[in-house]
Amino acid sequence: MTKTATPQSSGGDVRLQGISKTYGSFTAVHPLDLTVPAGSFFALLGASGCGKTTTLRMIAGLEEPTTGTVELSGQDVTVLPPYKRQVNTVFQNYALFPHLDIYENVAFGLRRRGIKSVKKQVEEMLDLVQLGPMARRKPQQLSGGQQQRVAVARALINHPQVLLLDEPLGALDLKLRRQMQLELKRIQTEVGITFVHVTHDQEEAMTMADTVAVMNGGRVEQLGAPADLYENPATTFVANFLGTSNLIEAEVVEAGGEELLLKAGDAKLRLPAGRCSASARTGEKVLAGVRPEKVALKHTDDAGAITEGHNRLPGRIKDASFIGVSTQYVIEVPGLGELAVYEQNIERDGRLVPGAEIVLHWNPAHTFGLDAAQDIQAGADLDEEAA
C-alpha cells in the first residue's frame, strides 16, 4: 500500500435520540436511542427489513425521522437537508455518476463545496484506494470491487465527520468481500473517521466493527463489542443470529448462589448466575445456551474421563459433516432435541460416527441463560441469508 498524506481528520460522534420512522401504519424503526462514539467503527447488523438502512438514511438526511433528533458532534441536524450535513454515504450499489469519469466522480463533493484545486486531493484519494491509473475511465468500465472503492473514495475525500456505509460489500463475491473488509478497516484506522456500517452479514460486522448493534423488527436488540455480543447474547435473536447457539429449555431448581442449578430433561446443568440475563428464581423456566464450539464429545465408553464439574448431556450422533478444520456434529439428545457441536480436528476419535452413543460436556462457565418467554427460534432461520 502506498503511503498516504491524507490529513488526519477526527470523526464526530452520532447521537440518535428517540428516533423513529413510520410509513403509514408500518413502523420501520421504533423509537431508539443510539450513540456512536467519535472515531469508532460501528455496525448496524440485522436481517433485511429490520430498519437498519432506514436508521442510516435518517443519519444521512435522506429520510426524515417521524420522531426524535439526530445530532452530529453535538449539533442538532435533524432538519438539515443532506447537502448541509457533514456526513457522506457509500451507497449499496455505489450510485456512481455514469456520465462522469472516476476522477470527476471523486472530485464531485469537493467541487460542490467550491474547492478549485482538487487535483492533489483527488490523486491522493485515488492512490489510497489503489485506483490511480483508472482516473479517466467511466464507472461502467470498472469491476464491482473497483466501483466499490471509487464509492468509498468519493465519500472519504470530503473528510466527513461520519462515513455511512449501506451494505457496501453486498454486491461483491465472497473472496472480494473478505478482502474489502480488511481494506475498509485499514482505511478507517488510517483516516480516523467515524464509520457507521449497515450489513446483514454477521461475520462482516464482527470482523470490522468495534461496536455492533443487532437490530430486529425496528428495534436494537443488543449493543456491544463483537466478542461481548457473541459470548453474552441477551436475547434468543442475538444468540441465533450471531453465529449458532444451542438453546435448551430448563427449569431453575436452585438459585441464590454464584451458580444456578438447572434441570433440563433428566440432566442437571450449572449456569453462572452472572451470565443469566433473565430473572431466575427457583421453579422458573430459563433457556440455557451454549455455543457449539464450546461443547466437547466423548464416546459413552470414555465418559468417566470427563472433567469433574462439567455440564453433561447424553446423546447420539445423528449426523457428522467434515469441513476441514473442524467437524460439525448434530447430536440427538433424548427429551431435548438436536444440538450442534463443532469439534476441532486435532485428534479424531474413529468411533464418533453417526449412530454412536456419546456424552456432551462443557465447562459450566460457558453456559449463558436467557429469558424463556422468548421465541427459541428467533433469528435462527435468518442466519442462512447472512451466511
Partner: protein, 312 residues
C-alpha cells in the same frame, strides 16, 4: 441488401438426419435477414424508389404539355434557392423556436411524470398522448378557432396588453393573433409537443433516483443536482426530442397554411404549391432535396456539438 443471395427455403434442403446438426446454425444465421426482408422491401418501394424518381425530376426541364425530360439542369437548384431563401430561413426559424418552446414546456412536464407523478403517472401519460386520437388537421383547425379574432384568447391577451408587446416585437399584427408568426409557432409547438415529451420522459425515467440522493449527499443543492446530474443524464432524451420536433416542424406546411397568412409561408407550403398548384415539378423536387440536405447538415452539426453520438 442481398435478397438474391438468400438460399432456397430449408425444406428443399431436407437431407438425412446427421446433417441436421450442422444445418441449424446456418438457418439461425439467416433468421435476422428474413426478419429484415419486409421492412427493406417497404423502404425500397416507398422510400428509395420515390427518392430516385424525385432526384431525376429535379434535373428535368420541359412543360406540362410537352412533357419533362432529364437534361441535367442543375440550375433549378440555384434558382430555387435564389427565389425561396426567405421561406427556407423562416422554416428554420419557426421550427427552431417551436423546438425551443417544446423543450421549455416539455422538460418540466416529463420531469414531473418521471419523478413526481407517482400513481398519476399513467393518467398524465395518456393526457400527453391523447391529442393523437384526433387527426393533425382537425387539431390545427381547432387552433384556428381558439386564436380567432374576437375569440377568448385574443380577448384576454388584448385586455392584458400583451398583444401590444407582441406587435411591437413583430410577431403579431394589431389586434390579431391568427395569420401571424405567433400563431404558426404556437401551432407547431402544440402539434409536436408529444414528440418532445416522450423521449424526454423515457430518458429521465431511466435515471436511478439514488444518483439524486448521492448528489445531495455530496453537497449538491437540488438546483446543482439538476444541472450536474439530472440534465446531463437526460441529454439523449433532449437530443432525440429536439430532433423529432425540429425535423418534421421544419418541413411542415399545415400550420402555416391554416394559422398563417401569405407572409408566414414556410418551405413546406412552397413545395406543396409548386407540386400541386404551379405544377412545376422540377422546382418542387429541387426544393425538397435542398430541405433534406439542409436538415441533414444541421442535424449532423447538432449531434456533433451536443457530444451525444454514443448516447443516441
Amino acid at each position: 441488401m442481398s435478397i438474391t443471395e438468400t438460399p432456397a427455403p430449408p425444406d428443399e434442403q431436407a437431407e438425412p438426419a446427421p446433417l441436421e446438426v450442422r444445418k441449424t446454425p446456418t438457418r439461425k444465421r439467416l433468421v435476422p435477414y428474413w426478419l429484415l426482408l419486409p421492412g427493406i422491401l417497404w423502404l425500397i418501394v416507398f422510400f428509395a424508389a420515390p427518392l430516385v424518381y424525385q432526384a431525376s425530376t429535379s434535373i428535368q426541364t420541359g412543360s406540362l404539355e410537352e412533357g419533362f425530360k432529364v437534361t441535367w439542369h442543375f440550375a433549378t437548384y440555384w434558382d430555387a434557392i435564389g427565389e425561396y431563401w426567405p421561406q427556407f430561413l423562416r422554416s428554420v426559424l419557426f421550427a427552431a423556436t417551436a423546438t425551443l418552446l417544446c423543450l421549455l414546456l416539455g422538460y418540466p412536464l416529463a420531469y414531473l411524470i418521471a419523478f413526481k407523478a407517482g400513481r398519476w403517472r399513467n393518467i398524465v401519460m395518456i393526457l400527453v398522448i391523447a391529442p393523437f386520437f384526433t387527426s393533425f388537421l382537425i387539431r390545427t383547425l381547432a387552433w384556428k378557432t381558439i386564436l380567432a379574432d374576437g375569440g377568448p384568447v385574443v380577448g384576454v391577451l388584448n385586455s392584458l396588453h400583451i398583444l401590444d408587446v407582441t406587435s411591437w416585437l413583430g410577431i403579431t399584427e394589431g389586434q390579431r393573433v391568427l395569420a401571424t408568426p405567433l400563431a404558426v409557432v404556437c401551432g407547431l409547438t402544440y402539434n409536436f409537443l408529444p414528440f418532445m415529451v416522450l423521449p424526454l420522459y423515457t430518458s429521465l425515467e431511466r435515471i436511478d433516483p439514488r444518483l439524486h440522493e448521492a448528489a445531495g449527499d455530496l453537497y449538491a443543492r437540488p438546483a446543482t443536482t439538476f444541472r450536474r446530474v439530472t440534465f446531463p443524464l437526460s441529454m439523449p432524451g433532449v437530443v432525440a426530442g429536439t430532433l423529432l420536433t425540429f425535423i418534421p416542424a421544419a418541413g411542415d406546411y399545415i400550420n402555416a397554411e391554416l394559422l398563417g397568412s401569405t407572409d408566414q409561408k414556410m418551405i413546406g407550403n412552397v413545395i406543396q404549391s409548386q407540386f400541386l398548384r404551379v405544377l412545376d415539378y422540377p422546382t418542387a423536387a429541387a426544393l425538397s432535396f435542398i430541405l433534406m440536405a439542409a436538415i441533414l447538415a444541421m442535424v449532423t452539426i447538432y449531434i456533433r456539438k451536443s457530444g451525444t453520438e454514443d448516447l443516441v
